[in-house]
């Protein structure tokens, strides 16, 4: 789960990391009031979960409260990569002397939290990694001891040759690691980490990505979720405990297991179709999940055919069959359904489906070909 910049800034500030003043607003009038309180030129930044906000016109400078209000009027409600801007952050326009990068990620290869710093800040750090890897400095943290002072200082000195600023940056890095632990983050990032004209070191922009597996034990973090920033179908799926990602195609896929779900989408493409979604109904045997899944799938007007691909292991095929029968009675849609079931209780499932007028097969390739053909006929 991604946190908004204003939420991440608040967490950093609470952890004792210097963050410039500023506040979040959801109307131009509020923006005007915040700008008046700040008493100087401000920057107004759209709060949406996507990169490239600046390029899309979602970040603007304003020299006075009146201009801040009018700028906010244009940013609030605008669409950035399909997401509507509901909130903006208003912060003083910073006097920046230099921009660096500081971040900590859980690294897959070293299997540790890795601190990364770079004097090349303010830009996409992946580009720095790809183009000028010599400008990235790393340290893999031993989680038993945490980020030790001299380790943080060693990295900080790569950013700032002056020991005063380096000490400030080292302190920020150690606090940033504490933020990672206390929020259950898989990534915490300050980009840019700036030096100000009077020698201060501050976090100008912050990003926190929380590990979804942490949310159960951290209700205070889970409460920060912004449901308005999720596609409606994805929010409904999350509430129904389904993993669903909407795509652009017209063949809806309903599969058990993430790997098989991806392979099913790939096979739809292989046979000349386009998948409408990724959907994993999980290993559960609950027919209600199938009803929820079909209700979400059929709400997408692009969908022309529905493909079930179930390999029964823990999931019992007869439970899925019962779910399909119940859902089609409840939901009243006319889209064609192609069903492939094999594995645990396959025979019982086939009997249930046949008795209710459905055809079902046991071969994945045949089912996918059929679903693609049906979508093409309907198009």
């Amino acid at each position: 789960m991604n946190l908004h910049e204003y939420q991440a800034r608040h967490i950093l500030k609470t952890a004792g990391i210097p963050v410039p003043d500023g506040d979040v607003a959801s109307s131009p009038a509020e923006v005007e009031a915040i700008a008046r309180r700040l008493g100087k030129g401000v920057v107004v930044k759209a709060q949406v979960h996507t990169g490239g906000r600046g390029k899309a016109g979602g970040v603007k400078l304003a020299k006075d409260p009146a201009e801040a209000q009018s700028v906010a009027g244009r940013i609030l409600g605008m669409q950035i990569k399909g997401l509507t801007v509901h909130k903006v952050l208003v912060a003083p326009a910073a006097d920046i002397a230099s921009e660096s990068y500081a971040g900590i990620i859980v690294d897959r290869s070293s299997q540790r939290p890795v601190v990364m710093v770079s004097p090349a800040g303010g830009v996409d750090i992946e580009e720095v990694v790809a183009k000028t890897p010599e400008k990235i400095f790393r340290h893999a943290i031993d989680p038993r001891f945490g980020l030790l002072p001299h380790q943080a200082m060693g990295l900080a000195l790569k950013l700032y040759p002056g020991v005063e600023q380096a000490r400030k940056a080292a302190d920020i890095l150690q606090r940033l690691y504490q933020v990672m632990l206390s929020t259950g983050a898989s990534l915490v990032e300050i980009n840019p980490l700036i030096t100000t004209l009077d020698g201060g070191v501050e976090a100008l922009d912050a990003k926190i990505v929380v590990d979804d597996n942490e949310l159960d034990r951290r209700p205070e973090i889970a409460a920060l979720r912004d449901a308005s920033d999720e596609a409606d179908s994805e929010r409904r799926a999350r509430e129904a405990n389904l993993t669903f990602i909407k795509l652009e195609g017209d063949v809806a896929c309903c599969v058990n297991g993430a790997g098989l779900a991806m392979a099913t989408m790939d096979l739809v493409k292989f046979y000349g179709g386009q998948p409408a979604n990724f959907l994993d109904i999980g290993g559960s045997s609950n027919p209600q999940k199938v009803v929820d899944a079909l209700s979400i799938i059929t709400a997408d007007p692009n969908v022309k055919s529905i493909l079930f691909n179930i390999f029964g292991g823990i999931t019992r095929c007869d439970d899925v069959a019962n779910g399909i029968v119940t859902a089609t009675k409840q939901l009243k849609f006319s889209l064609p359904i192609v069903i492939r079931l094999t594995g645990t209780n396959e025979k019982e499932a086939m009997e249930i489906l046949t008795a209710n007028g459905f055809n079902a097969g046991t071969d994945m390739d045949e089912a996918v070909k059929q679903a693609v053909a049906l979508a093409k006929q309907a198009a």
């Binding site: 859980v106 897959r108 290869s109 299997q111 540790r112 939290p113 992946e126 031993d142 989680p143 038993r144 990672m180 632990l181 259950g184 898989s186 590990d211 979804d212 597996n213 942490e214 159960d216 034990r217 993993t243 990602i245 795509l247 599969v255 058990n256 297991g257 993430a258 790997g259 098989l260 779900a261 991806m262 392979a263 989408m265 790939d266 096979l267 739809v268 493409k269 292989f270 998948p275 990724f278 994993d280 290993g283 390999f311 029964g312 292991g313 823990i314 999931t315 094999t342 594995g343 645990t344 994945m364 390739d365």
Partner: protein, 289 residues
């Protein structure tokens, strides 16, 4: 022969009285796995299905029964400590089926397990099965057949799909291992490939990867430099959009890295025959054997 899970496996089931643990303990027993003990704190002294002794701690179970392998079915919030406990009790193979373990917990678990000289498979994995010998985890025994193809995968049901094709073509398996879909796991592709290369009962290996990370690329390098046995591979997620977590916590393309195309190219360059679809596994293997 087989890897990790063998006729000598003596299993302790952590969480044997839970919903998942009891269901799968029965399945494993029916398959012929030697389930030596179960562990549920507070239920020590009872018996599971009237047969298997239950202990309060893994240490008790190991001392009393000589168990050498653990399988973990406890809920996610208890799973890290269950792994610590199994390693502390001296078990050398620990299979964690549980899904949803926080990645920061795994950064502490993994070094501990290694220091104890244990191997962890998972978390968030279906476990391993050596057909005709033993199964540890949840892979359905009915779809497998004893033979000489090794299978290693990051997935669950996709693995079943591919095993199903193999079994129908009379190509039995030495061992099938699901290493798990999380970003931080105890046993990676290379560990399994190395074990299959050593195993006299394995003639060829099927590797099933997916988007996210660089484990497949590392595996490709290993195949190229260290393996003589033929390897056939599949990568799931060719149509996955970047930046989205595709069900598995580890299945995410970050920026332009971890794509299926990149992994398939690495496989090809290492001499791994790449399937375009799961059904290709049989013809490709036949060509290589």
């Amino acid at each position: 022969m087989s890897i990790f899970v063998t006729r000598d496996t003596r299993l302790v089931v952590q969480g044997i009285t839970g919903r998942d643990g009891s269901f799968h303990a029965k399945q494993m027993m029916e398959y012929g796995t030697r389930v030596a003990a179960g562990v549920t704190p507070g239920k020590g002294g009872q018996r599971f299905e009237g047969k298997v002794p239950i202990y309060d701690t893994v240490a008790d179970a190991v001392r009393e029964t000589g168990a050498n392998t653990s399988v973990i079915y406890v809920p996610a919030r208890f799973a890290p400590d269950a792994i610590f406990e199994a390693a502390d009790a001296g078990l050398k193979l620990i299979v964690c089926i549980t899904e949803g373990v926080p990645v920061l917990d795994m950064t502490r678990v993994l070094p501990f397990v290694r220091e104890k000289g244990a191997r962890l498979i998972g978390p968030n994995c279906p476990g391993a099965i050596s057909p005709g010998r033993a199964k540890v985890g949840i892979i359905p025994g009915s779809i497998c057949k004893q033979g000489s193809v090794g299978v290693v995968s990051r997935s669950g049901t996709l693995t079943y799909e591919i095993i199903h094709h193999l079994t129908h073509a009379d190509m039995g398996q030495s061992t099938c291992v699901g290493i798990g879909g999380d970003p931080l796991i105890g046993t990676n592709f290379i560990d399994c490939l190395a074990a299959f290369e050593e195993d006299s009962g394995t003639r060829a290996v099927v590797i099933i990867g997916e988007i996210g990370g660089t484990d497949e690329q590392d595996a490709a390098t290993f195949v190229k430099e260290k393996m003589k046995k033929p390897v056939v591979g599949f990568i799931a997620g060719q149509t996955a959009p970047p930046g989205r977590r595709m069900g598995h916590a580890g299945a995410i393309i970050s920026g332009s890295s971890g794509t299926a195309a990149e992994k398939m190219a690495a496989f090809e360059a290492a001499g791994i025959s790449v399937m375009k679809r799961p059904a290709d596994v049989v013809p490709l293997l036949k060509k290589r054997l």
